[in-house]
Symmetry: C2
Subunit: 520 residues, 2 copies
């Protein structure tokens, strides 16, 4: 099937009358390219020294680069929930209250997931006539009620959880992949990742899925939302054979090169089919690079402090590129503080839809920024689980709590800030600074190394401004029902829908729920 | 005078018949833009998050970017001597043997300087009909025999030493500025730098000097070499009033913005006068950013380890951009390992001149890289004073010695690696690793965090290759006469040539030479 599509597309590309544009859509297609654990510093355009992302660099030069773009959480599931709901994880339920300030996500023993009470923007796009597809990782819960096709998507090819494994299908089942409602196989069975060589053709499969979907919608002149949520840069990192060993950066770089290649193909197809001018494309990542997996399995956060799991810049500042030929002028850099949650609001705005008014929405509409370079002051909130750890406003960032991870974890070699140690900042205890927040100027000091003296007028002015914003934020905060508190082996992917047809149903153990333990 | 030139140039630029090209020179003009303590990570194109170098970024997009470009020493004077001689400081004498592995330079109490036995490439260019000018910092010795006009330059406007001060002209004289043979004033007297505000118009003066020189040579159709060796990013950092407070990065960023603006003006003049296609331009820096002066007075080394004074990447990897419209194709990235010493060889090659054969030259000819993208494998040697600390070959770097600085200095707050601490790597003792060099893969691990296991075949292969190169290098090494061993208060800038006319001669103390102390 994949081969067939490759051939048909290849033939189509030779046909000069392929161009299908002229739909005159007022509602642009929306294409989100979401990376997994890719760091800000992994792109050539953001200074990766080996500069192996020519297609992404070209995308930036043809569009608008966001050096101040943030995810909503330093971990995958909450970020993805925030992206699709436009709301902080503390509101949409993607957090835990089992312990203070803990990152939590959706491993396959998690009971919770995305609540029916949350509105995902594809739900709204769908009502406006969009066809919505997710390719790749979902990560908002794997139990049937959390299925993406129940939350606004029309099509899905990918997996509900991380591609961890291989498991024994006895104590732990291998993670399934779905096509729409039905599983089509499991990782390490039908969809292999060779841990020794790092080989897997999954990115190629996800690429072909994207090309096929885009091509079909272009032919049908059908507005679409495609959420290309691939995971090759999340450990265990993988690349297909033609890319293995091609990077100067090792296996992680091979994965980046394959993704860069794939994005080149996708943008090229938008151009070839004539729908580039009708398609808003945004590239970003779910959190900072996982330095704990570096150098073979983790990326780079450039000049920023620490990585994934932390609320330092390396954990939450992510690459951001907007591309929309004919609408977004080429070669721009925006200094706007942007958030992954803005993609909710911006997508609705571009589709001409109303933003829900019955709930707090944290994302702002970036279309004035993208289309008219009109920037807005807004804060960035850095949460870790149920705790507001830090706030950025303008160039200043105030830390109310600092924590890297525990001394116990560190002594086991778990280090989210390898090679970096800033006394009183990268703390291995949870340290509260609420009375005198630790203040940094991210323009002069993007690495959060030089805290500003509490005795300075700069400190007083900045902390006053930030405190006001924090007070407003706290006063109006209504946390959601925490979804990431309860675990149960019985809810794992034993018998996903469709397993019968494949003869791949497994027997779950008895239900025995427990309070999930989130160590950091 | 400066104002007059500004006006005459401004008028000239309005005249569409200004274009003076069509010289059909076979010998291109050579313009070296040498920064002082500017780090690899200070350019937008190398990932500085505030992205405030639009002109340099444009220069890169119109030319060739070198992400693997190195200086020859982590300190100013030896780097500059290496640039002009094409030879490692250990050969050209810009080192000390007073203590092991110490950085040394040319403060005004230094007795030594550039030896008459060294050939500086402007000397050769001059014989081939070039007019050579240095604008800014010389730093190869300030005593009369070391004067730039005795070493190949026809014109000079600038200073022999760093713009340190203000001094009292009793214990220590203020540093002079020269026009050609005569001093024209002193720092903090005729040429002020306000330490409180950071204001100084020196970059504007250096810019006007450059514009005037280029314009004159263009009018005269005279091949030229211009060495624009400015120092606004060296502490004490400065910027002129229109730039103060304009950067998101503080005073250091203001200085960078003014330099970026100035380079934009210079390249624009090359275009306006029609000589851009006849002018090879190279932008680089003398060493990595001085992290000890950060954040207000120091720059960024991006993802690299430590800064100026060290032989980690942050100390010696520097920005490199080649620009030559019509000859260097736009938008290229070269992975060539380049060295500041290559500018010696490349300049001679572009001018059609022979490379001296009577001595070892460490620089290679980059013209095949720049003009035909033909890359060459070559090692990079990282010296600290008289010691070969490390060697890069391909992606591998082997450290034979590690040292950041002493515990004593560290305890006084002198830190060349702030916020960075890698056990066994950023050592505060001089640690020898000659038997089993510390090996890093700079592609996977540009931050030198993860040393490669001595038990791996990768280690064995890489160290074998590097050891062979090191052996060859050591076998053929003939160190020069060390120039940086002797200091004497009597040699300071008491009575520079021309002081009589200005009534600014000072009385030197009795000569009392001592062995200079180089603490790191």
């Amino acid at each position: 099937m994949v081969l067939y599509i490759m051939c048909s597309l290849a033939l189509a590309f030779l046909n000069p009358v392929l161009v299908l544009g002229g739909m005159n859509v007022t509602r642009p297609n929306i294409l989100l390219l979401l990376m997994d654990d890719m760091g800000w510093g992994d792109l050539g355009v953001f200074g990766e020294p080996s500069r192996e992302t020519p297609n992404l660099d070209k995308m930036a030069s043809e569009g608008m680069l966001f050096p101040n773009f943030y995810t909503a959480n330093p971990l995958c599931s909450p970020s993805r929930a925030a992206l699709l709901t436009g709301r902080l994880p503390i509101r949409n339920g993607f957090f835990t209250t089992n312990s203070h300030a803990r990152n939590a996500y959706t491993p396959q023993e998690i009971v919770g997931g995305i609540s029916d009470s949350e509105i995902l923007f594809p739900e709204l796009l769908k009502k406006a006539g969009y066809i919505n597809k997710i390719i790749g990782k979902w990560h908002l819960g794997h139990r049937p009620s959390y299925h993406p096709l129940r939350h606004g998507f029309d099509e899905w090819f990918g997996s509900p959880n991380c591609h961890f494994g291989p498991y024994d299908n006895k104590q732990i089942p291998n993670i399934p992949l779905y096509r729409d409602w039905n599983m089509v196989g499991r990782y390490y069975e039908e969809f292999n990742i060779n841990h020794k060589t790092g080989e897997s053709n999954l990115t190629q499969i996800y690429l072909q899925e994207a090309l096929e979907f885009i091509y079909s919608q272009a032919v049908a002149q059908q507005p679409f939302f495609l959420y290309w949520s691939i995971d090759a840069t999340h450990a265990p990192v993988y690349a297909s054979r033609p890319f293995l060993g091609t990077s100067n950066r090792g296996l992680y770089g091979d994965a980046v090169r394959e993704i860069d290649f794939s994005i080149g193909k996708i943008l090229n197809l938008l151009n070839l089919t004539g729908i580039a001018k009708d398609t808003f494309v945004f590239f970003t990542s779910d959190n900072g690079a996982a330095l704990i997996s570096a150098p073979m399995q983790g990326g780079s956060n450039g000049p920023f402090l620490c990585g994934k799991q932390t609320t330092f810049e390396g954990g939450m500042r992510v690459p951001g590129i907007a591309w929309w030929p004919g609408h977004v002028a080429p070669g721009q850099v925006s200094y706007q503080l942007g958030s992954i949650m803005d993609l909710f609001t911006t997508s609705l705005s571009l589709a001409g839809l109303e933003i829900p008014r019955d709930r707090a929405i944290d994302g702002i509409d970036l279309s004035p920024v993208i289309l008219e370079s009109k920037e807005t002051e807004r804060p960035i909130f850095y949460y870790r689980g149920n705790e507001l750890m830090a706030v950025r406003l303008g160039q200043h960032k105030a830390h109310y709590w600092t924590w890297s991870n525990s001394w116990e974890e560190l002594s086991q070699g778990i280090n989210f800030c390898p090679g970096q140690n800033i006394t009183g900042v990268t703390t291995h205890m949870q340290v509260e600074h609420s009375i005198n927040p630790l203040l940094f100027h991210l323009g002069r000091d993007p690495g959060e190394k030089y805290s500003i003296s509490v005795l300075s007028t700069e400190y007083e002015d900045a902390v006053n401004r930030i405190s006001y914003v924090v007070q407003q934020h706290r006063d109006s905060m209504v946390p959601g029902e925490p979804q990431l508190n309860v675990c149960d082996l019985a809810v794992m992917n034993w018998s996903p829908h469709g397993c019968e047809k494949l003869g791949k149903c497994l027997t779950p153990p008895q239900s025995n729920p427990w309070k999930c333990v989130w160590p950091h």
